[in-house]
C-alpha cells in the first residue's frame, strides 16, 4: 500500500516518539527498533539521526540513541501544534 508522504516535522516527531518509547525501558533506543516503528529505510533514518543530533534533540552512544530534553520539548510542542491546528479545523 502506498504510504502518504510525511512532512519533515512529522518524521522528526515519529522518530523522537519511537526513541522515547524504546528508551523508556533501557534509557537508550536501538536504531533497528526505531526503524521498525517509523517504517523508514535505514539510510534515510540515519540521515535524520544526523540532523536531529545536529539540532541537539538526540545523542548517540556506541551505536545506540537517546533523546535529549530538547527532543522531549519538541514532542510536547508538536503535540500542541497538531491539537491546535486540528481544533481550528485546519
Amino acid at each position: 500500500m502506498r504510504q502518504e508522504k510525511r512532512h519533515k516535522l512529522q518524521l522528526f516527531y515519529e522518530i523522537l516518539c519511537a526513541i522515547e518509547e524504546d528508551a523508556a525501558h533501557n534509557e537508550v533506543a536501538k536504531p533497528t527498533h526505531v526503524q521498525h516503528f517509523t517504517r523508514l529505510s535505514y539510510d534515510k533514518m540515519m540521515n535524520h539521526f544526523d540532523e536531529l543530533e545536529e539540532k541537539g534533540m538526540i545523542h548517540r552512544v556506541s551505536g545506540l540513541v537517546a533523546i535529549t530534553a530538547k527532543g522531549k520539548m519538541f514532542i510536547e510542542q508538536y503535540d500542541q501544534l497538531t491539537s491546535l491546528i486540528e481544533s481550528a479545523g485546519l
Partner: protein, 269 residues
C-alpha cells in the same frame, strides 16, 4: 459678527455632514455611556484577538507552515481594527479623522477576515491539482485581500479629492457592501471548518465553526444597525463579537492545556 456667522455656518455644515447615525455605530448608544462602553468592548475585543493571534503565531514559528501565517496576522489585524473603531468614536467631531479612522477600521477588518480565509483556502487546496484553471483561481483568491485594501483606500481618497468634504451617506453604503463581503468570507471559513469537523467526525471541533458563526452574526447585526439605526442591534453585534472571540480563546486554551496534562500523565506512567 460676520466671522461668527461664518463659523456658525461651518458648524451647521459639519453637523449636517457628520450624520452620527451613518458611520461608527457606537454613536447609536447614549452619549453619556458610549465612550465607556466603547473602551470596555474595545479592550476586551483587542485582548481576545491578540491572545488568539499569539496562539497561532507560536504554532507558525514552531512549524514554519506558510498557510498558518494568515491566522496570526489576521487576528492581529482584527484587533487593530477594533482599536481604530474606538479611535473614530473619540474623534467623531473631527471631520477628517472620524471618516479616516472608520475606513482604516473597515479596511483592517476585511483584510483580517480575508487573510484568515486564505489560511483555510491554502490548507484545503489540493496539492495534486494543477493546470491553468487552478493557477488562475489561486491568483484570484490571493488578489482578493489586496483588493480589499485598495477599495476602502481609493474610494474615500477619490471622494475627498473630488469634494471639499466626505460624502458620508455614500461611504456608509460602501461599508454595507464591505460587510456583505465579510459575511461571505466568514461563510467560506465556516464551510471549511464544518468540512474538517465532518472529516474528523469529532463533535468537539464544533466550537470553532460556532465561533465563526458568532462573528458572522456580528456582521449581520451591524447590517441591521445600518438599516434601522438600532442600538439594540449594535449591542447584539458587540456581544456576538466578544462571544465569538472568547469561544476561540477558550478552545485554544483548552486544547493546549489538555495536551499538556496528557503529556505529563504519559511521562508519569
Amino acid at each position: 459678527m460676520g466671522a461668527s456667522l461664518i463659523l456658525r455656518g461651518h458648524e451647521i455644515i459639519a453637523m449636517a455632514v457628520l450624520d452620527p447615525n451613518v458611520l461608527n455605530p457606537f454613536v447609536l448608544v447614549s452619549p453619556a455611556v458610549a465612550p465607556a462602553l466603547a473602551a470596555v468592548i474595545t479592550a476586551i475585543s483587542v485582548s481576545l484577538s491578540l491572545m488568539i493571534s499569539r496562539y497561532f503565531f507560536k504554532s507558525y514559528t514552531f512549524s514554519g507552515f506558510g498557510y498558518l501565517l494568515g491566522l496570526p496576522v489576521g487576528f492581529a489585524f482584527l484587533g487593530a481594527s477594533f482599536l481604530f473603531e474606538a479611535s473614530s468614536l473619540m474623534y467623531r467631531a473631527d471631520p477628517l479623522l472620524y471618516p479616516a479612522f472608520f475606513w482604516i477600521q473597515m479596511l483592517l477588518q476585511s483584510e483580517a477576515l480575508a487573510l484568515i480565509a486564505l489560511s483555510y483556502y491554502y490548507k484545503n487546496s489540493d496539492a495534486n491539482e494543477s493546470g491553468r484553471k487552478v493557477r488562475a483561481r489561486d491568483v484570484l483568491v490571493t488578489a482578493l485581500p489586496l483588493a480589499m485594501v485598495a477599495i476602502p483606500f481609493i474610494v474615500p481618497t477619490f471622494a475627498l479629492a473630488s469634494q471639499p468634504y466626505f460624502n458620508y451617506a455614500g461611504l456608509a453604503d460602501l461599508s454595507f457592501y464591505m460587510r456583505i463581503f465579510n459575511m461571505i468570507v466568514i461563510g467560506y471559513i465556516f464551510k471549511s471548518t464544518i468540512a474538517s469537523l465532518v472529516r474528523a467526525a469529532n463533535v468537539k471541533l464544533l466550537y470553532v465553526p460556532a465561533a465563526f458563526a458568532l462573528l458572522w452574526l456580528e456582521q449581520y447585526s451591524l447590517i441591521l444597525a445600518y438599516f434601522d439605526n438600532s442600538a439594540i442591534a449594535f449591542i447584539g453585534s458587540a456581544a456576538a463579537r466578544i462571544a465569538g472571540l472568547a469561544l476561540f480563546v477558550y478552545i485554544m486554551h483548552r486544547v493546549t492545556s489538555r495536551r499538556r496534562i496528557e503529556i505529563e500523565a504519559r511521562k508519569a506512567a
